[in-house]
């Protein structure tokens, strides 16, 4: 990617390097958001419907983890995946897989905490009805998760937004390698450090447009599904 052109020029010219960066950023962030949803939604539902000693402390901790510092997560994942770390044998440090792992750790608490709140609120509304219908625990979780699906899309979007905007963790575990692990945010950080502000700003605008498009698509899907399901 040449330094002396604007991001708009690159977009209009269909620059393959830029599109590779955009593609990788989307793959990493969407993968992290979906893996985090697969873990976070059931976890949130379980906490919402369970009563156990220390539940309040778990909820406070989960909520606090929504603010996990990305560089700290990046450092921990780096140490775990480095050659001498416990997961060093996987050999995935400085790969997109490592970036997905780091972002999944960042995003899971967000999706779990928002899911917990959403499902707990719905449970208050459904409790008498589901109890009277003698619905068992697993079916309760499935029912609540399904009926809260439109709100859970918002939790998923919050997680995707966090992943897409994150730079600290992916730059540590990905290494910002051109053509391999460079994403929108790491490219912006690099161009800014090189003083190439017009390109950095242009890339930032492209990133924001992508996030808005993903959210708009999710919103349109949600509205259409709500019209069908009520």
């Amino acid at each position: 990617m040449p330094d002396d052109v604007s991001a708009l020029d690159l977009v209009l010219a269909g620059d393959p390097a830029l599109f590779a960066i955009v593609q990788l950023a989307l793959i990493v962030s969407l993968s992290a958001a979906f893996v985090a949803a697969a873990v976070g939604i059931p976890l949130g539902a379980w906490i919402a419907l369970s009563s156990f000693r220390g539940r309040d402390a778990v909820i406070v901790l989960l909520n606090a983890m929504m603010g996990l510092p990305p560089v700290v997560v990046g450092l921990v994942v780096y140490l775990a995946l480095s050659r001498s770390g416990p997961l060093g044998s996987w050999g995935i440090l400085f790969t997109p897989q490592a970036m997905v792992i780091a972002q999944t750790i960042l995003v899971t608490p967000i999706i779990a905490a928002l899911s917990r709140q959403t499902i707990e609120d719905l449970w208050l509304e459904y409790r008498d009805e589901l109890t009277a219908l003698e619905i068992g625990p697993l079916r309760r979780v499935a029912t609540l998760a399904w009926d809260a699906r439109f709100s859970l899309i918002t939790a998923l979007l919050a997680g995707f937004g966090r992943a897409a905007a994150e730079v600290g963790a992916v730059i540590i575990v990905g290494g910002n390698i051109e053509g391999f692990t460079r994403t929108m945010t790491t490219a912006i950080a690099l161009e800014t450090s090189k003083g190439n502000l017009p390109l950095a700003i242009g890339l930032g605008v492209v990133l924001i447009v992508i996030v808005v498009i993903v959210n708009a698509l999710a919103w349109a899907f949600r509205r259409a599904a709500e019209r069908l399901a009520g």
């Binding site: 509304e125 008498d128 219908l133 029912t143 009926d147 069908l228 009520g230």
Partner: protein, 219 residues
């Protein structure tokens, strides 16, 4: 069928049901009446197993097959048909039940988009999908317009005609007259009077019942 033996329900310092003893037998609808706070809803919730008595016990003749429709039923976020199917046990009678409550034409419509009266009838169909022997109804026509009230009452009669025991609460004496085979008057968590409906409405046996029927406040 169901027997309440000295059932007491206390919430904090408030006694909601006070050593209530009542036998509910098969037959036409048993209607619980009484002023607000008399304990009508609590009787239904205790019988349904949603509330545990503080003292006393409830005996069922055989395994309880019961269902309830709440005053404001919660519709699941899916179609009317899916709401009934969700509750089904045994043979799927969803279509037949929607026909019974007059909602076959809105089977595919989102349940939450139905009117209050339609939601109440859908809740009746959903409760019937549990194949109950006893159906508890908590103020089933509260806040419904006269047309919707009539539609719900017609469904309640149809349910009774199928041999399902209906036990319902209402604050509407007109509705109690229209539906009840047996009346239970409650006040402050105690039974004031239990009587067959015609006799109760023609000549209440207690002074409190006469005052209640005359529209006086029971304090």
């Amino acid at each position: 069928m169901i027997r309440f033996e000295e059932v007491t329900v206390a919430v904090g310092n408030v006694t909601v049901l006070d050593r209530l003893t009542l036998a509910i037998a098969p037959g036409g609808p048993t209607v619980l009446i009484g002023p607000n706070g008399a304990g009508k809803t609590t009787v239904l919730r205790v019988a349904m197993g949603l509330l545990r008595p503080s003292a006393g016990r409830i005996e069922w003749h055989g395994e309880p097959r019961r269902a309830i429709v709440f005053q404001r039923p919660t519709m699941l976020r899916r179609s009317a048909l899916a709401n009934v199917r969700y509750a089904s046990v045994g043979r799927d009678r969803t279509r037949e039940l929607l026909e019974l409550v007059g909602l076959a034409h809105v089977a595919d419509r989102p349940a939450r988009r139905l009117s209050s009266g339609e939601q109440q009838r859908l809740a009746l169909a959903r409760a019937l999908a549990r194949d109950p022997e006893v159906l508890f109804l908590d103020e089933p026509t509260a806040s419904l317009d006269p047309g919707s009230t009539k539609a719900v009452e017609d469904v309640i009669r149809a349910i009774g005609a199928r041999g399902i025991k209906v036990v319902m609460s209402t604050h509407d004496l007109g509705e109690a007259r229209r539906l009840a085979a047996e009346v239970v008057l409650l006040h402050r968590g105690r039974i004031v009077e239990v009587a067959a409906a015609p006799g109760f409405f023609d000549a209440p046996g207690t002074a409190a019942a006469r005052r209640f029927m005359a529209g006086e406040l029971l304090l």
